[in-house]
């Protein structure tokens, strides 16, 4: 919607309709990476950066595609932009922060297949956001994603000190935790009204 304020767009993406806990995007890294708070926060930051770059590029691409009436190339061009953005972030991280690069390992190139990143680009196009709204939206989505990762990592760190029945260890427990987190986030619905 055109009239939405930037703060609302940000809060909507970060909390009210949190990308992980309400829209089910970005689940793979959410279940896989979140074991330690430090890795979780770096992963969140890297993903937010990729989201921002992709979102801005997607906005520009969309303007280009609509003016030439070749919207059917939208998906391919968006995913190409995301892959390039991830490559860019990977290369800069290798140069400026090699320790972090090694810590994230295989998860960095996997940001390309993170549904949340493509989701940001697709949803902002569907909602017909303008440039500033799109930027706010991607920052909010990244913030919400990082928040979910941090919450999960914190919970998992605490759980390492308690006894968990063997059948629940691993994914089963993470999913139940995620369900409880999702339930609590439902309390934010109606915040924008």
């Amino acid at each position: 919607m055109q009239g939405e304020s930037l703060t609302f767009v940000f809060l909507n993406a970060a909390i009210i309709n949190n990308f992980v806990l309400a829209m089910f995007l970005g689940i793979c890294p959410f279940l896989g990476v979140s074991g330690k708070l430090k890795t979780a926060s770096s992963m969140g930051a890297a993903t937010t950066l990729v989201m921002l770059i992709s979102s801005v590029s997607a906005y520009g691409l969309n303007v280009l595609l609509t003016s030439f009436e070749i919207e059917f190339l939208r998906l391919i061009s968006y995913i190409a932009v995301i892959a390039s953005a991830v490559q860019l972030v990977e290369m800069s991280m290798k140069k400026f922060s090699p320790g972090l690069f090694r810590a994230l390992g295989i998860y960095l190139p996997l940001i390309t297949t993170n549904c949340a990143v493509l989701g940001v680009a697709l949803f902002q196009t569907a909602k017909e956001y303008d440039f500033l709204q799109a930027t706010s939206y991607s920052l909010g989505a990244g913030a919400g994603f990082t928040l979910a990762l941090l919450l999960m990592a914190g919970l998992r760190e605490k759980l390492e000190l308690s006894t968990v029945p063997r059948i629940a260890q691993g994914a089963g427990l993470s999913l139940m935790l995620a369900g409880l987190l999702s339930l609590s986030f439902m309390g934010f619905a109606g915040l924008g009204g």
């Binding site: 089910f24 689940i27 998906l75 995913i79 892959a83 629940a168 089963g172 139940m176 369900g179 999702s182």
Partner: protein, 216 residues
């Protein structure tokens, strides 16, 4: 070029994707659509079939081109090919089944980032002949659809009292609302995984007991 490990096609090539190497319950791949579109059984089926189409189509094309794609650009080419098939499914659904298209929404386009498809391309299609790839992809796709249906049916049954839109319980059924909301997706998948883990434990314990009995 990459070593060609064409394996003979057996029943296992097809079946392993359904149970032993089920992409959802064993490898925990493709989570996003699994939780998002399984609020009804019909949506689950539609998403499963769409993904199956993209899986088979893209992997077959990749397998056909496997000797021509250099190692350095393989991920980029795989993604472009997968995106092509997803765009095809998107337009075909819009044209011939607007109801399904409206129900699945943005998640059709999100099939392109479904880790299962890229994973299969990388680990199987790039090294195996076309027919073997097609069979394996079909098995994986069916395993995925099965997992989706297992989730969708439970959620629809308890959340709306119906199955595929057909009411199952009587008028007085009180729907368990959380089942069709986001938390319900997490809980149901978690429950299925707990169930499978418990079953595996039981089998392992029984095997141990039998072994001990034989050893005597």
């Amino acid at each position: 070029m990459r070593p060609d490990l064409t394996q003979p096609i057996t029943m296992d090539t097809f079946l392993r994707g359904i149970w032993r190497e089920n992409p959802v319950f064993v490898a925990l791949l493709g989570m996003c659509p699994v939780l998002a579109v399984t609020n009804t059984a019909t949506n689950s089926l539609a998403m499963g079939v769409s993904t199956l189409f993209v899986l088979i189509g893209s992997n077959v094309l990749i397998s056909m081109l496997r000797h021509f794609i250099p190692k350095q650009v393989r991920i980029a080419t795989y993604i472009v090919i997968i995106a092509t098939f997803v765009t095809m499914v998107d337009y075909i659904l819009q044209a011939f089944s607007p109801a399904v298209y409206a129900a699945l929404g943005a998640f059709i386009q999100l099939i392109v980032v479904n880790c299962i498809i890229l994973g299969r391309a990388e680990s199987y299609a790039s090294k195996n002949a076309v027919l073997s790839t097609a069979v394996n992809a079909a098995g994986m796709g069916l395993g995925f659809t099965l997992a989706l249906l297992m989730l969708g049916s439970v959620r629809e049954l308890f959340g709306m009292g119906s199955l595929f839109g057909v009411p199952v319980f009587g008028e007085s059924f009180q729907p368990w609302l959380v089942m069709i909301l986001p938390p319900g997706g997490f809980f149901v998948l978690g429950s299925w995984l707990l169930l499978f883990a418990w079953w595996r434990e039981r089998k392992a314990r029984k095997a141990l007991v039998e072994e001990a009995a034989h050893a005597r």
